[in-house]
Symmetry: C2
DNA sequence: TTCATTTCTTCACAAATGTGAATGAAAGTA
DNA sequence: TACTTTCATTCACATTTGTGAAGAAATGAA
């Protein structure tokens, strides 16, 4: 079973027929480094499963400054949810996306469109149920982020990153990590120095 | 039509029969100042509509420090979503609540339980659909909060509060507003002084 | 009212974080 | 290889924010 199907199985128990139908509507898609995979403000109409390459989602404040929302890649380190290039909320409710997803390297992906997922889900397991469960995941993530930002300072956030997802430091440029933590790149450098030699 | 029914109508178009059925399962509930209406970690099994009184939701970090998540009250100033004493996410998915809701004054409320809402919704408009739409609202709110915390400093956050919900300053103690903005009470005082005389 | 309690403000100082410039390291390109 | 570009680090200094203490103001109780 491929990982995309496994992902879908989290939310829906598909019959054999539906599984075959699902596999038939999956298709490949590739992007070049720098491509915008999802555009903030436009509707995210497919789920993309990363096969190779790295991406990041980010949003832009009123001054044009970019803030990294998340990193996306597929290897031994990555968390399940990070495989996916999608704004769940935009996809599920077909509303404008809250952020942009940009390819940092060339990307190979498998794609499933919103219209196709509608064809897959059966009457007994409707799309609303899937949407509800996926929304919950998205909510948990964004809540955790808001909680961390409200309750901890830059050093604590960096220590939490060291504990929960240290591999990010080897995979992504530090100025992107800094914008993920919500600090200036120089401040991240200072924190790293301070923590490495106590 | 009472405001609670109006609230439900945002999500479901109920038949006359269903509306009557809904009104029949609503009941009154009151709390004393200091009461915990929703407990972090426990499942939120009813929606409470505030008739009178003030409350706040908050969570606690590892050091026992409290951070205000939101304010809840019902008057001309309050936003629709602030009437409700509920962790939507916990309620809809019947999972542990992310925060505590505490009565700041004596509270009069109307309550609708999770089991009763299940009885109301018809087959054509199932609970998953309601859940999905309510989840979206909750997601928007928490996303906005995370965005603001990541992209702006204390002063900008206070200015945004002055713009979007200045009435909070008259209704709630400033040390609570401070914990809502994620700053020390003294820092909020300093910001207020600085901004009032430019 | 008076007294006690809580909250808000102010201050001085400390700690954290941002900023611009300079340097060096690393990576990419010809 | 040499050259260029990008990025990470370091530094000095500015700005922001936190902290503890003190007093002022507001609130509540007797």
């Amino acid at each position: 079973m491929n990982l995309f199907v496994k992902f879908i199985y989290q939310f829906i128990s598909l019959s054999n027929e539906d599984t075959i139908a699902l596999e038939n509507v999956l298709s490949n898609k590739s992007y070049k480094a720098g491509d915008k995979i999802v555009q903030e403000g436009s509707i995210c109409n497919s789920i993309l499963f990363t096969v190779s390459g790295k991406a990041r989602s980010y949003f832009v404040n009123h001054e044009g400054q970019e803030f990294t929302w998340n990193f996306h890649f597929n290897d031994a380190d990555s968390k399940f949810e990070n495989y996916f290039l999608v704004d769940y909320h935009s996809f599920l409710r077909q509303t404008p996306s809250h952020f942009t997803i940009e390819a940092l390297e060339d990307i190979e992906a498998i794609t499933l469109s919103y219209t196709n997922i509608q064809k897959i889900v059966s009457k007994s397991i409707n799309l609303e149920k899937v949407a509800s469960i996926m929304s919950a995941t998205a909510y948990q993530n964004v809540h955790k982020r808001a909680f961390t930002l409200l309750t901890s300072n830059a050093k604590e956030r960096y220590l939490q990153l060291l504990k929960d997802e240290p591999y990010l430091l080897n995979k992504f440029q530090h100025y992107l990590i800094a914008s993920y933590l919500g600090v200036a790149p120089q401040s991240l450098s200072r924190l790293r120095k301070e923590i490495s030699k106590p």
